[in-house]
């Protein structure tokens, strides 16, 4: 497919960039395929996210969304570029400084069945981040766990139970509670509502939106569901083959997508009506798996 000129204009003045909580510049992440072959999973990607803001990251499977999230959290190494978080250089941080940064950045994963340890009680799972970061102990620790459960709409007696006793939506609430335990300023949600029924999805979306408003929590919301992103996010980043092809306000992108791939994504959702009538759906083109 032919790529038109990349539009990367989130409309940020230099002063606004100073205020941003998270700033990623020219990030590159590479994987070795064995031998000397490498794949550039994230390629020269830049983004900004304000404190209390919400940025949706959309794109097809394999485009590098999850890799981007992991690189921001330093769960995997970056091959180049810079990540600034709250004035700190994330990629250069080591030891205690890195641990302090990690306290501020947390993640909720897609599958609430595999992201909780089945052999630990919910209370133990929620206490762990508090213990690791030495935020509370003893009675104060138990009180904090109770507060966390209450914050995500679960009763305090959930602390003594195990993950298998909860439904998918409840488990995702627990995963969110665990992420909130260290009082982060940034929450990365990696397809965290994709595995849920629409009724439960609505509950989790409302919870995330409340948290963002009440606590000024910034959300980096990775999803393939454009409607959910539109509902929850102010800004949106469209990724294609590891690159950001469009970074704009949600309103602008949904009103007037500039990049051909953004248009193809929107058409695929809006054009479902045409599909039924037999019109050819817009093709996203062939995605090469290698960079």
């Amino acid at each position: 497919m032919t790529l038109s000129i990349a539009v990367t204009d989130p409309g940020m003045s230099p002063a606004a960039e100073q205020r941003s909580l998270l700033r990623v510049e020219g990030l590159r992440v590479e994987f070795t395929l064995g031998g000397r072959r490498t794949v550039r999973a994230v390629d020269d990607l830049s983004l900004t996210l304000d404190a209390g803001g919400s940025l949706g990251v959309v794109g097809e499977s394999g485009c590098g969304k999850t890799t981007l999230a992991r690189a921001i959290l330093r769960l995997i190494p970056a091959a180049g570029g810079r990540i600034h978080f709250n004035g700190h250089d994330v990629l250069a941080s080591r030891g205690a400084a890195l641990r302090a940064l990690r306290r501020e950045m947390q993640i909720v994963f897609q599958d609430p069945y595999s992201s909780l340890n089945p052999r630990r009680t919910i209370g133990a799972t929620l206490a762990e981040p508090l213990e690791i970061h030495r935020l509370a102990r003893g009675a104060a620790l138990r009180a904090r766990v109770g507060l966390l459960l209450g914050r995500v709409g679960l009763s305090a007696d959930a602390a003594g139970r195990y993950p298998h006793e909860f439904s998918g939506g409840q488990r995702q609430r627990i995963a969110i509670a665990r992420a909130l335990a260290t009082e982060p300023r940034l929450l990365i949600c990696d397809e965290c509502v994709s595995a849920l029924d629409v009724s439960v999805q609505a509950q989790i979306i409302n919870l995330l939106d409340d948290l963002r408003r009440e606590r000024g929590l910034a959300l980096l919301f990775i999803s393939h569901n454009l409607a959910v992103v539109r509902h929850l996010c102010d800004q949106i980043l469209v990724m294609l083959q590891g690159r950001a092809v469009e970074h704009a306000s949600c309103d602008a992108l949904f009103r007037d997508p500039r990049h051909s791939f953004s248009r193809a994504l929107l058409d695929a959702v809006r054009g479902r009506r045409r599909v039924q009538r037999g019109g050819a759906p817009p093709s996203a083109g062939n995605r090469a798996s290698e960079g």
Partner: protein
């Protein structure tokens, strides 16, 4: 209990003799609560070339209904009553050998995750060839004829470059290509009815659009009928002629998909429609407010089988029925409504 009205003439808007008629299908599962009824008096019809969508939350009995139709229920589950009539043949009264002949040849099924439904040790072509060999051995006796028949199947499902894909293993194919291969296998026996259980849930929106387009094409060109199981209401409003909404094992509303979603009768349907965020706010069938207003929620969760409430099964989560004596104590029957619609709710005026 269904009312007398429900036992009258079937309301569906299909031909005189529907391709598939399901009557009062019940499925029991033996589990930790003892034996519980997970599919309860489910009835629907599908005409030739028609698409019926079965929607509802997880645990409502969608997939078990499909597996019961295919006689593929897991060992803990069994059909406890009802009739499944395909092409005039009452399947449940026939021996397994006869049902086996119907499975694959008259109806076939595809699943949500083609990566796990395909055999990782066989090439795509070999798996299509196997289905052809089982269902129509006379069609391909020589190796060359077999290969050509497989290529024709792969072309029929609009696989780009079938000659290259035929010798590839599932892991060498993309998600969309794998689902096309699954459809080719399912259709190899010449089935009239395809049961698709969340066939596009694992796919990207662009690929999903292509698969939905392919299914639409097969309906038009080959008269294929579809039973489409999904929880994605946007997909339903596009692919389905009619929709059946299932809650806690019972169909609570059924009718043409455009009217069911634009003017839901049952509070559960309204709840499902309202809680889906819209890509273009204001465009939603309920005309809900734009983004930032909290999404309307259906409170609570689906009652577990074995712990289902008396009266209407939805009443604990229903804003209309929660405090209503009749809703709490008596189970509503099916009522018929203009436009080929039916609902199971005390609050819907007949």
């Amino acid at each position: 209990m269904p009312t007398e009205r429900a036992n009258a003439v079937p309301a569906a808007s299909c031909e005189i003799a529907p391709l598939l008629r399901v009557e009062d299908l019940c499925v029991d599962v033996a589990g930790e609560w003892g034996t519980v009824r997970v599919v309860d008096e489910v009835r629907f019809e599908i005409g030739r070339g028609e698409c019926l969508a079965l929607v509802g939350e997880s645990g409502c009995g969608k997939s078990l209904t499909a597996l019961a139709l295919m006689s593929l229920l897991p060992s803990a589950a069994r059909v406890a009553g009802g009739r499944i009539v395909l092409n005039g043949i009452d399947l449940l009264s026939r021996p397994e050998s006869e049902r086996r002949a119907v499975r694959g040849r008259r109806m076939a099924m595809i699943f949500q995750e083609p990566a796990t439904a395909l055999n990782p040790l066989m090439t795509a072509g070999a798996q299509v060839a196997e289905a052809l060999a089982v269902h129509c051995p006379e069609a391909a006796r020589t190796r060359r004829a077999r290969r050509e028949a497989v290529l024709a199947m792969l072309e029929r499902v609009r696989l780009t470059d079938p000659a290259a894909c035929i010798d590839r293993y599932p892991h060498q194919l993309s998600g969309g290509q794998r689902q096309r291969v699954m459809i080719a296998i399912a259709l190899a026996g010449g089935a009239d009815l395809l049961i698709a259980d969340e066939p596009t849930t694992a796919l990207d929106v662009t690929v999903e659009a292509e698969i939905l387009s392919l299914l639409g094409e097969l309906r038009r060109t080959a008269g294929l009928a579809l039973l489409f199981i999904t929880h994605d209401l946007d997909v339903v409003s596009v692919v389905a002629d009619r929709v059946a909404v299932i809650y806690a094992g019972r169909i609570v509303e059924q009718g043409p998909s455009d009217t069911v979603f634009s003017r839901p009768l049952h509070p559960y349907t309204s709840g499902l429609v309202a809680c889906v965020p819209r890509i273009d706010p204001g465009d939603g069938p309920t005309g809900q407010a734009g983004r930032r207003a909290p999404l309307p929620q259906i409170e609570g969760v689906v009652a577990q089988p074995g712990a289902r409430p008396g009266g209407c099964r939805f009443h604990p989560r229903c804003s209309l029925g929660r405090d209503d004596r009749q809703c709490r104590e008596e189970e509503p029957g099916v009522t018929r409504h203009p436009g080929g619609r039916e609902a199971r709710c005390w609050k819907v005026e007949p």
